[in-house]
Point group: D2
Chain length 141, copies 4
């Protein structure tokens, strides 16, 4: 069951006076796409939060290749690069409406309880862990 | 004891492709200035939160008179328009580095406990209420 | 031909530490919905810009009634309140996924050439003016 | 002549419902600090733009170590990692008010004319190039 890409239309307020999408916004698009990816995989982020799991970002890496601007349509593909018990890494490929790759990114996350304790998801949320593990293997095939 | 105006320098990411500060950001500048105003009056917003008071915005009104852009220096004057037991209203005057009024605004807030219950600040936080009341009279004189 | 409401799903990055959608973001949602409204009326905002018309916001008024948060679905209805030759006013009604009105707003805009000259759209862009005029009458009926 | 660190106070609207500064904002803080760094070095970004040079971001890398929140004071140190004729790389160290490193980052930029042509700053803006080159050597000592 493959994941559908996430679509983000660039908003006017996301542009800057260079006339292009401000680079900081791509980090937000990655979040939008990641949350959609998790939802499609059956792991609604709000549900994770309700279970007492929060997942802070520990690293972002973003390569800007081609500028975009107002009304451009980004198609964002998300993949799980790796998921061990304590960290998960995602890959992002963002294409514009012409199929051109405009940006690629990576993000890394840990898992923390509401009280701030580091969680080992392989032990405490094995079902979530197995789904993400499987997603990472899809990608490596 | 008069309150010092709050200074906000326009950031690159606050501009849009029209070349000017995006209008939504002024609502954020009003928040920055209001928090600074409360701090100067001895009511640190984080302290209010720690006391279990949150103060959601119930209304914003903003008149845009002159555009600003990257590196412009806004000088924001905040006044208490009115404070009764359940609502507080602030007025904002924003001037650029040349003293020109670029934007004026109003905001209205209520007071809510962490559990979401409406608070009567005149009864529950009389000291805060009196300070704001006094500020509103300064302004009307 | 009636206009379809605009849908905005609240993003994680649009919430604040009060746990709710930050109030400044509604001003951005109004922009998203207004641009979609113009597009549905045949007046793509990028096309207007290409014709040399920009339309700065001169006023925003926003009443916050019920908080929203991450994953809430806003349904935004836009109407033209009034359009004379030099100014246009829009009304916004925002409902959550349960049909509850969470926020109402108004915005006012003028029309300016790329060189910053005020435009009389009734004279210079009569086709646009007539469309907006007709939309304002729809609303008043 | 050493560069003074840049100070950014975390704003309420920069937090998210996890209660911490949203990670995308650090990319904006890096921009604020970089612009301040260039200004201190005598290269006001608005002046660069007026000379017809824009400097799009080609890469961002950000490592989040410790969360921050509303009212925290970030002290951001910027260094030039490398400047060749066509690209410049900056390093960022962000410390909170207790001196703890909360985030480190890197950014990479190219130089483009207003018409979108890649610029060789070593040839076309040798004075800027020499200043950045010198800054990069300071750092490596």
């Amino acid at each position: 069951m493959t994941t559908k890409p996430y679509i983000h239309i660039i908003q006017y307020y996301e542009t800057d006076r260079m006339g292009i999408t401000h680079h900081s916004n791509y980090v937000r698009f990655m979040e939008e796409a990641r949350i959609d990816f998790l939802k499609q995989a059956g792991w609604d982020y709000a549900k994770l939060e309700a279970m007492g799991v929060i997942s802070p970002v520990t690293r972002i890496d973003c390569k800007y290749k081609v500028p975009t601007t107002f009304e451009d349509e980004l198609r964002i593909t998300v993949m799980v690069k790796e998921c061990n018990g304590i960290r998960i890494q995602f890959l992002y490929k963002m294409q514009n409406q012409h199929g051109v790759i405009v940006c690629t990114g990576e993000s890394e996350h840990c898992f923390v309880s509401a009280e701030g304790k580091i969680l080992r998801v392989d032990r405490e949320f094995p079902e979530f862990f197995e789904t993400m593990k499987a997603k990472s293997e899809e990608h490596s095939m």
